[in-house]
Symmetry: C2
Subunit: 280 residues, 2 copies
């Protein structure tokens, strides 16, 4: 695996924006980040977050970011409009809205974001944690996407952007034997070797297949809301990621993600509320 520089990486190209006037930023949602007919929600959040980081100078990193998904996005041009809500000493808050034009050229909002930014590098160092990283087999014993069912890859082009090695214990759904524990976990790295940073963690928080696959519910699960808390800057290297759900009810389920870096530090926690796939 070669390590690429930030600017040449697929991810950095995907979140790149041309700054326009009045807090408007123009980007292009690439077809390579599609999943189930739309653009991956984590990638969209990273695009919006990238725009917002320019609105909040001195506070480069999202500390807490909430995205509300309004309509399905598609490959093509997008515009992000940002607005400062409050500028503070150690934290600042702002909004971002991601739009795409419909057939008539009318802007339609895809994603509405509210977030507080700070400087993760400036945070105090002490860690008091009872959380433990997911117990994963070594990467060579995990299941790479080269073993994914072709029907899955067809619907999820973004999986080709990832070097994802799933824990075999949580991947039975791929062969019709879901564990029904509501958990999918594995090792993650961007396929082109681009190292993780806070914006990339937003992508990773929504990168694994929907955890409902493991409940025996194939089909895509549209995100209603996704909040990510960035808890530390990630070290270079592999990430350990777990997605879990405990409560599917009334047609919705929560998906909790944890992301751990190579030093064993919990670098992000996220929760999303998503619509459950309909049972077949």
């Amino acid at each position: 695996m070669t390590t690429v520089t930030a600017t040449s990486s697929e991810f950095d190209q995907a979140i790149a924006l041309d700054p326009g006037p009045d807090g408007r930023h123009r980007g292009e949602l690439g077809a390579g980040w599609q999943i189930g007919g739309g653009i991956n929600g984590g990638l969209l959040l990273a695009v919006a977050a990238n725009a917002l980081s320019r609105e909040l100078p001195g506070h480069p990193d999202p500390v807490s970011i909430s995205g509300y998904y309004l309509s399905a996005s598609r490959p093509g041009p997008a515009e992000v409009r940002t607005e400062l809500v409050r500028r503070g000493g150690s934290l600042s808050t702002g909004t971002a809205s991601l739009y795409q034009d419909d057939e008539d050229g009318t802007p339609v909002e895809r994603l509405s974001v509210l977030a507080t930014y700070g400087d993760l590098a400036a945070q105090a160092g002490e860690v008091h944690t009872s959380a433990t990283p997911p117990a994963l087999p070594p990467r060579e014993s995990c299941v790479g996407m080269e073993h994914a069912p072709p029907a899955l890859i067809e619907q999820a082009a973004l999986l080709e952007r990832f070097d994802l090695r799933l824990d075999p214990a949580t991947v039975g759904w791929a062969v019709g034997q879901p564990s029904r524990q509501g958990r999918i976990q594995g090792w993650f790295r961007l396929a082109d070797g681009r190292e993780p940073d806070p914006l990339a963690l937003l992508l990773v928080a929504d990168a694994l297949p929907p955890v409902t696959f493991d409940l025996g519910l194939p089909g895509w699960a549209p995100t209603i809301e996704l909040t990510v808390h960035l808890r530390a800057k990630p070290a270079p290297g592999w990430l350990r990621v777990s997605h879990a759900t405990r409560n599917l009810a009334g047609g919705y389920f929560e998906e909790d993600a944890e992301i751990w870096d190579e030093t064993g530090r919990l670098v992000a926690q996220s929760r999303q509320l998503a619509r459950a796939p309909r049972p077949r």
Copy 2:
């Protein structure tokens, strides 16, 4: 305990608003809802959510609501400005901003909210859950607020609004013996017998003492962000509530709350990011 009607209850009075022009709603933050020098964050979220429910007719209930806390609020007049983001078939999204005037009469934003509303009563009935309610001793074996240290009550007038019965296993901090497990749990009901509903659950999600008390960190923990997912309409009666944290790092911690109704259904899940109290 007498049961009061919605309109005569302390909580309904606290969240009451006079509708004004242009999506502006005027309310009064009562001194009885103070904690640690400010107004309780869950109560503020309920006030903003009450305003937003008028902006989104047909979709009365918050399904997912995210509040970003910008500055400390105080007893007195407040104004909530709401805005529709997107109106959909089963869900609608909007924003709410809660302001108070500073000494010069300049409006200062206290709380910025982004939320998606729907109709919880219209949701499908199926429940598939692996979550279990917190194991609590019977209420008569739990610790009521009449046993709380006077110093705590002085700083937390809102505790008088609650009939809160904490699990003795998670209340050792009150006598200088925190369990250090990062968990506080107990039975909850509004003191005047007002039955729970989705807006009241927003209050309950932030009603217990900061879970950092149980880590041996007294002192208040200002909320940065609080997202609540409403998973079902609560049945009348007592609620079981747990607050837990697993990761205190870099000066911040997450607090996860679960709220279960008297029928044993998980009715709300929430997570907040808060600033850790400084060790003494």
